[in-house]
């Protein structure tokens, strides 16, 4: 990441931290909170997305796990902090199991399996009505103030961004890039590719679980559809991809753009919000294809001046 990108990222993070303290109530408070949660999801998604090139369609699984673990702990009579600690431990175990299952898969198979996992959790939590409240979901009382929720979310985003930077600069980050380039070659030079993948995926999973905890703490309700939401997974995917900048700046600006677009879509295009997401998704994929072709043409022309 270039110095100007790092400076710009720090400015955005500071602005979000200050906004979370100033605007905690009303519409602006909800918008700032959504922005921070989307930012956390996008930055955490970007860790395996960029370094391992894995496209997950089920990142919301971790979000839902965190929210439900917290919700069940609160409904069993625990207070906020013990519930958070217990939900972190439970989500960690759950995320580890999911990650261990997924770590062996590649490319399209990984995307497919993550989508399958998301639907399994959605259906499973609908079925386990006595614990999860079924399709109506869980309602919990307010455990902390909205201001504290916003501040905790902002600190979570800061911690996630720090994890992203530290991971990409550590030897594990370099290992993961090598694994993405060629898994066989990486294994041949002694890189433990499976451990790299698990570490990378877990670094992404934990902030998503925590985002789920804070989402429930602020909104007091989670259902299988809102917790294990395909839209949320796509939001994270889009936010991390829509701005072609490396490091944390791309996902941060992406989250800003997507959250703003989300607000417009939900208010102006009722009934077509999923279609608009589809359109953005399609646009992002087509841009990737067109941009690749343009770069290939330019590099071919540079290699062979006579072809001009």
């Amino acid at each position: 990441m270039k110095p100007w990108q790092m400076s710009f990222s720090i400015i955005i993070l500071t602005a979000l931290l200050l906004s979370s303290a100033v605007f905690s109530k009303g519409y602006v408070g909800i918008f700032v909170f959504s922005l921070i949660i989307n930012g956390t999801m996008a930055v955490s998604y970007d860790i395996p997305g960029r370094s391992l090139g894995l496209i997950s369609l089920g990142h919301a699984v971790f979000f839902g796990l965190g929210a439900y673990c917290f919700g069940i702990s609160i409904s069993k009579g625990l207070s906020f902090f013990p519930a958070v600690i217990l939900s972190v431990i439970l989500s960690f175990v759950g995320a580890l199991l999911v990650t261990l299952l997924m770590a062996g898969l590649k490319h399209g198979y990984y995307s497919l399996a993550t989508l399958g996992i998301l639907i399994i959790f959605q259906k499973l939590f609908e079925t386990l009505e006595s614990i999860t409240g079924g399709s109506a979901g869980l309602y919990i009382p307010e455990t902390i103030s909205k201001l504290h929720c916003n501040l905790l979310a902002a600190f979570l985003l800061l911690a996630t961004a720090a994890c992203h930077v530290l991971f990409s600069r550590s030897r594990w980050g370099l290992y993961s890039k090598e694994t993405e380039a060629s898994e066989e070659a990486a294994e041949a030079i002694g890189i433990p590719t499976r451990t790299v993948k698990i570490l990378c995926l877990m670094t992404a999973a934990i902030p998503a679980c925590m985002a789920g905890v804070l989402h429930l703490a602020r909104n007091s309700h989670v259902s299988p559809v809102s917790g294990f939401s395909l839209t949320l997974s796509i939001t994270a995917l889009l936010a991390s991809r829509v701005v072609p900048l490396r490091g944390i700046l791309g996902p941060l600006i992406g989250a800003l753009l997507i959250t703003a677009a989300e607000e417009v879509i939900w208010t102006k295009f009722e009934g077509f919000n999923q279609a608009w997401f589809g359109l953005i998704l399609l646009g992002a994929a087509l841009y990737q294809g067109i941009n690749f072709k343009r770069r290939k043409t330019i590099s071919a022309a540079a290699e062979n001046p006579l072809s001009r």
Binding site: I55, L105, G108, I119, I120, K123, A275, K293
Partner: protein, 283 residues
């Protein structure tokens, strides 16, 4: 028990049809088309709308709608395959997966806008006959036969005709096929057209047997993908057999568990199978 088996056989026949189309698209173009199920839903809606004006039987409508679905296949090719043909295999699979997910999401909202939330059902009354004490619904038996004929015709098309041979050649080696004068763009367009026709036929048959929700496209695609992964990517016989197996599993799970649990069982099997087979390593 035997009645559940028969029910599973009918459901499996429709799933096989759906999965064969998806397998064809993956085998020839390396495309995991998540909009495949949406094409089935589109066909069901078109059939339902047509039924109001003309009372066609499902099989007559399948024949009449073939050119329309071929056209949809060509259009889909322009959106989810053509822009990514310069990418590497893995990048192409992911890009087409994202693009086709975008198409599926757009179509789902359009379907709800077009025909509302109510499930699409195009059931027509047909006599039931007795076979050694077993009640066999006539419509289901005919549709199962039609599904088998459609899969058989697709296999013959791929094996015995020039366009079919071109598609198989393209699946084996794109560069070598091009050297022999096969146009990869037109051939893959034809393959996706054929896959979309199969999805359309599956959608029409499915809505004649069971109610189909306007947002069930992605669910159908995932089940078809499960069948394709289980039966083997790129061949037609494997998915046809795996489709029947899924029909049986779903029918038995439907008797043993609730509706939502049935889906949990099916998707859990998908993930377990993917993990055990380590599909990605063989790509």
């Amino acid at each position: 028990m035997i009645q559940v088996l028969i029910s599973g056989l009918f459901l499996g026949g429709v799933y096989s049809l759906l999965a064969v189309g998806l397998s064809l698209a993956f085998g020839i173009m390396g495309v995991l088309n998540l909009a495949h199920g949406s094409m089935a839903v589109l066909a069901a809606i078109l059939y339902k709308k047509t039924l109001v004006l003309y009372p066609f039987s499902p099989w007559t409508f399948c024949v009449l709608a073939t050119p329309i679905f071929l056209g949809f296949g060509f259009l889909l090719h322009l959106i989810i395959v053509a822009p990514f043909r310069h990418l590497s295999l893995s990048a192409g699979v992911v890009a087409s997966l994202i693009a086709s997910l975008g198409v599926a999401l757009i179509l789902e909202d359009l379907f709800v806008w077009w025909q509302g939330w109510e499930p699409i059902s195009t059931y027509i009354t047909f006599p039931t006959f007795n076979l050694m004490g077993l009640k066999i619904p006539g419509l289901r038996a005919i549709l199962l036969g039609m599904a088998a004929v459609t899969i058989g015709l697709s296999t013959l098309f791929l094996k015995k005709t020039d366009p079919g041979r071109s598609m198989r050649a393209l699946a084996q080696d794109k560069e070598a096929a091009s050297l022999y004068g096969i146009n990869p763009v037109f051939t893959s367009m034809g393959a996706l057209g054929l896959a979309t026709i199969l999805a359309g036929v599956a959608g029409i048959f499915y809505s004649s047997l069971y109610p189909l929700g306007p947002r069930e496209g992605l669910d159908l695609t995932l089940k078809a993908l499960f069948i394709v992964v289980a039966g083997g990517m790129g061949n037609l016989r494997g998915p046809a057999v795996a489709g029947l197996a899924l029909g049986f599993i779903e029918s038995f799970a439907g008797v043993l568990f609730t509706y939502t649990s049935t889906d949990t069982v099916v998707y859990s099997l998908l993930v377990v199978y993917l993990v055990l087979k380590r599909g990605g390593r063989q790509q």
